[in-house]
Subunit: 435 residues, 4 copies
């Protein structure tokens, strides 16, 4: 976790503090932490408690765990004789860091009525005070700064998870609670599906800048990319409905073997949160139950569904290096969490026919790349080595961020990852066409 | 389903209204309903939401379901065009009455953050008002009165379940929350284990009075009971510890075959809620974590453990008719929910050496009688037929009520029933000795 | 049981040897053992190996385990320094006798290709020789004789299990192998369903003779039986089809709660081995796939189905003491294993309108009595105490024997027992009508 | 794949028949088919029937399914009105080809006692006759020839599976049957672990010859390979024991997260088939139970164990393209199935210090490459498209063949694949060292 002019083969979870000095970092800390709290505004106390499936965490757990991160990995490391705010929180809000100690069983997070929501807001307040106090007494060369910076990116990841999880909580409830009002949108016309072509070539992949990046984006390295073209927009609900109507969920020849097993055992007949009302399809959104918008991108599909759709459409899902190559010179603009919409929107007219849209924001885009380490990758030592490295198996890479991702969290080199049957994230499909 | 001079073979879920007239019933209604609410006083909002295992229901579910009972089985039956307070509650808070309609999946009760606790207290208030208004306009011959009376006994059952469930919720939490302060008690001496003998004879079993009784206590009928003697008190923690120390949990010859499987697969090494701290045993109570009191009755054991203990002690578990014979002339006094202690207490000195103590209150006593219908039993028609009858398989009868049972809820003929591996109820052991 | 000076409360698993002396016992031994082997005649080597579900054992396991019984419980007890024929068989072919030692995991019996079928026939031959040799050198007062007698009844139980298990093996095979030719029968007319009435009374139940009986039939004791009448024949396929056509499998109000769960999770829509071919129903028999015979008794139903059928028909399933009372003065005649038919046959015209038929043989008849110990029951000490006693929970009693039971195995007091969801045994339904 | 004017993006499952003409193919057909049968020589009938876990198939199923391949994909395609030898075999012995029709449930293969072993040998004989007859009447341009060639490679895959599966069957049996006598070997000294270094470069990967190759080895394409060095031999049992002794199975920081879950839930404490006898380790081999040979390569480890070992040793598992680059100029020699040893042997002295040994034969070598399609890959149309393509998810690539692989089956470009928790294959570990 050094920095400095390291060579390509040296991996570090970040390359530089997010901001130049401790005061700026403290300001950023407060801004990001309070954004988390603002996301809780629409919730009542009961909403913070519930866990609807093992992958989902209660809101209050997110609030506590992201705080735990600063306590366990910053405050407790900074002071020899550090005294935990509540000794038991060390165990209760550890997610999976074996090097820090045992942790409460993940699928049981929803059985804890205590600590209360109020207790946890108090916890946040207390740790925030301690953290800012710490920032006042260390200098910007302190090795704690990169960890605090990482903690803020960790906080942003949990902002997104908080949203995806509360959506699952609300969608599991027959009362269909509403999290937020969404802009009612005039029906838009669907943009035509165009393609942008790329030549084969030896390119560099992975983070090479001087800002923050996760360890799994490193080291920057060479890859040979064969020629391909990339769809200029995401697959829409309307297009995906054609796949459903063409019996896409009933034809094993369109599916990976494991995908067919997942589909069958979990009774998938449409994306997650879809339901049929007579002839009409509706879906649950954070704005409540709504009619499916044909021109909006299809969302809450697993990699298996993305792959089956691509096979049906006679295209492919892109590899992550192709996606990164295409994204590398785009500006990071799009429909992010800051919009407060929390739902993907239809692609808008672009300047040229092969201009890529929706690359950032709207939906995480499944790639056909299994999540593995880059050549020369070395995980950080200690607990931070558990952040990303131990998950490099049985997962697929997703790129680009979503409507639930904070804008400043994303980079062209950012690698998100989930198992191929995951559906509760804001995940969608962009097609590729090998040339 | 009223009474009248029915013959023995006619079964009815109750034999007479609990009280003589509507006004008295309304008063009783308010008293029982508000006792339920008083049990919630120690809880914070988060505590109402959590479900720690499929058998446990969230507190707010208990509050809503016992209200639903009056709405679905009284109000909605009373008025042709009855309009539900909330249409979806009909489905959400139905427990298992197929004749009323589909119900929300039981093991998923804990995923519902809404309706909120406040919504549900409002629901109670509204239905209470409607019910009292109904009682004002019907007369005491109305067939609704027995159903309302049943509803109050149903409410009392859920008062007990609310307590057993919140105990499970608190005991599942490493923070060990405390529900109530309990009297600190001076250590008492354990009474000697005496026996009271009974001759063989043809006796009558089942309810024969003119008050309320559940359908499963009917009809009153003849049974031949062989000679037996009954222990004058419950098995104590101290005695049960001897069983543990004698490797009772490690010797298959002491166990029923299914019991051994349950013990092994669920890793039982002591009663539920016990934990070893060095050489000392502690247990979780509604008053928090406490040292095991050797002279208090052993609690939270399954029928399998009761049966293994009895085999080890070279005695038997009594049959329900023997228990009922012994209880039939005792007054219904003991350590009930009204004591606010919610924990069993040691047996106290009695008038004579073979006086039975702890027969009512303290702990439900496992019998060795599988729960089946009495000869000539006919379940009520309609939804009330689902109240008891369909559970008459794979369960064992328990008798006598517990420290979590309201006193006015219990009778000598009262039959509680649970599967033989059940441990989260306040269940204990009384030995019998066949002669 | 009474006799031989003992008091009622003294239980033992048998009261007298099946035959008067060792020579007669040796002859009986050879006869019963070779009947087992004759049941294997229709099998090819592969058929002996397969286990189609945990309850089913491979044929070769039955052959070995019933031999193990004589080796473990007779030969090894008879001689201090007894040397096992194969040391590992002690472990491999122990079923569940913890007091003898560990046993190979039951659901894994079908993974053992070795010992071979030939090895096991050699095992039988060797143990038979040793056993007969033993009988030559002990006298008829030896305590081993009752154990040998029990071993022969154990052998007969496994003769029946061998047949029920091979039926399951063949029915699991799409090639539908045939075990035996059955008599083709002219279609018979269904006898009318008549009732035989019995008065209430205090009766004696349990074995009271001087021959062999299982410990669970003891002691003979008094029971008060309320008035009842019993159907003169078993429920037929034709009658059961009416239940199916009346949507009996789709109406939860007809089912016990646990029965509905079993039905739903196991997808029952008809008795086991039934399949619909267009409009016609067929079932698998040991004579292959055949059309359902409307006048033959319905077979391979669980207790849950028997109970649901009885509720639909507005009758009851009889208690075991009522059945025993009715059977006590009947001669033990019927359609047993010796007929070589291995399938129930329609009831035949009787001498009088209320003469009971099919009480013995044809099908085991579910009773509504949970399998518990009789008052005063004491299990034998040592391994034989594990034979019956530890299963006295969560099972229902069946009476009367079946077409797969050897005739000399059955008695009016005989208590078979299986969990209420069991279907692969030859089990049927006789109705009762409480008066 | 050849090229032959085609572009790189054109994929086909094979590029040329294995042999030049039909007569030669018929000879090869007979040779390969009879090798399968020769592998069955040590078996008794019972051994053919048993399935010890879902991944294992009974020997007789392998014999039948590899025959089914020729009937379903060659004979039935060759003649319009083809009549199956046994109509039901089409269903019974289909493995997973949805485009051919439904198939018998894989985990239930072991419940089928029929068809008998003899039936299946007859089936083989009949189909062999039909196939050779077919080869007599078609010419070498027939499109059936490549399918027959594929069928022979398929047969060789099942030769290996037959061996791995019978090993699992024998190892599951406490009697520890022996499949074959193995040469007793003098203890050899372990070769030092040397490294062979490779420069970075843009290389071609995938089959480019004119013989047979599987579709998943195509197309030949460019990949950039960073610099690396490869261990000159496999990891030995002795080295792996050091990992065990260093508590490798107890330290979560050494494991992938999914690996730790697999290890824990499956109770791994050593490679599959290892058992501790006092201080000594033994393992089950096809030659029976033997002491662990410290200088022989460690075998029957999952990818998770390989990866944990590499992390512990501070090395990496190589990517498949690195392995292929290193193997591309080696001759295909090693310890293959033809040796009749069926067990890996210690590495032997090589000509130079960085000469690679054990690259072919001995053990399949885990790579750290998830099994995905090569750029430009197109699966064959029809059933052969199901052969490889649908499994390209959640599996890892293995390279080099094993002691159970027929020598003529393997190529430097050959890609085997199994899920990362697989242990019953002959799989081992070769380390890599990124430079």
């Amino acid at each position: 976790m050094t920095q400095s002019g390291t060579t390509e083969a040296t991996t570090k979870f970040n390359a530089a503090p997010l901001v130049a000095d401790c005061h700026a970092l403290a300001r950023r800390y407060r801004r990001i932490r309070s954004f988390t709290e603002s996301l809780c505004k629409p919730l009542v106390t009961e909403d913070y408690v519930v866990q609807t499936m093992p992958d989902v965490s209660p809101t209050k757990w997110h609030l506590a765990h992201s705080t735990w991160f600063f306590e366990a990995l910053v405050l407790a490391k900074a002071d020899k004789g550090y005294s935990w705010w509540q000794e038991q929180y060390k165990y209760l809000f550890n997610s999976y860091y074996n090097s820090i100690g045992p942790h409460f069983d993940r699928p049981r997070r929803g059985v804890l009525s205590r600590p209360t929501v109020e207790d946890i807001f108090n916890y946040r307040e207390e740790i925030d005070a301690r953290l800012v106090e710490l920032l006042n007494r260390i200098d910007s060369a302190s090795p704690l700064l990169p960890v605090i910076t990482l903690g803020l990116h960790h906080e942003m990841q949990h902002q997104e998870l908080l949203l995806t999880d509360i959506k699952h909580v609300f969608a599991s409830n027959p009362l269909r609670p509403i999290y937020c009002e969404q802009l009612s949108r005039a029906t838009t016309t669907q943009l035509p599906l165009n393609w942008k072509a790329y030549d084969a070539g030896l390119v560099r992949v992975g983070y090479a800048g001087s800002g923050f990046a996760h360890d799994n984006e490193l080291p920057n390295h060479q890859v040979f990319v064969p020629p391909f073209s990339l769809a200029t927009r995401l697959v829409t609900n309307g297009e995906y409905l054609s796949f459903i109507l063409d019996r896409g969920y009933e034809r094993p020849e369109l599916w990976l073997s494991d995908g067919w097993v997942a589909k069958t055992s979990q009774n998938w007949t449409a994306p997650l949160y879809w339901q049929q009302q007579g002839d009409q399809w509706q879906y649950m959104t954070l704005g409540g139950l709504r009619g499916v918008d044909a021109s909006a991108p299809v969302c809450h599909v697993s990699f298996y569904e993305a792959d089956a759709y691509a096979r049906w459409a006679r295209f492919k899902i892109p590899r992550e290096e192709a996606w990164e190559l295409a994204a590398s010179d785009l500006s990071i603009e799009g429909n992010f969490a800051e919009s407060g919409n929390y739902h993907p929107v239809p692609a808008k007219e672009q300047t040229g026919p092969d201009a890529l849209c929706q690359m950032f924001g709207d939906l995480w885009e499944w790639t056909s790349s299994p999540y593995v380490d880059y050549p020369g990758y070395q995980p950080p030592s200690g607990p931070l080595g558990e952040y990303n490295a131990k998950f490099m198996c049985n997962q697929m890479v997703l790129r680009g961020g979503s409507c639930a991702t904070p804008q400043s969290h994303i980079r062209p080199t950012y690698r998100n990852f989930f198992p191929p049957d995951t559906r509760w994230q804001f995940s969608g499909i962009r097609l590729a066409n090998p040339l």
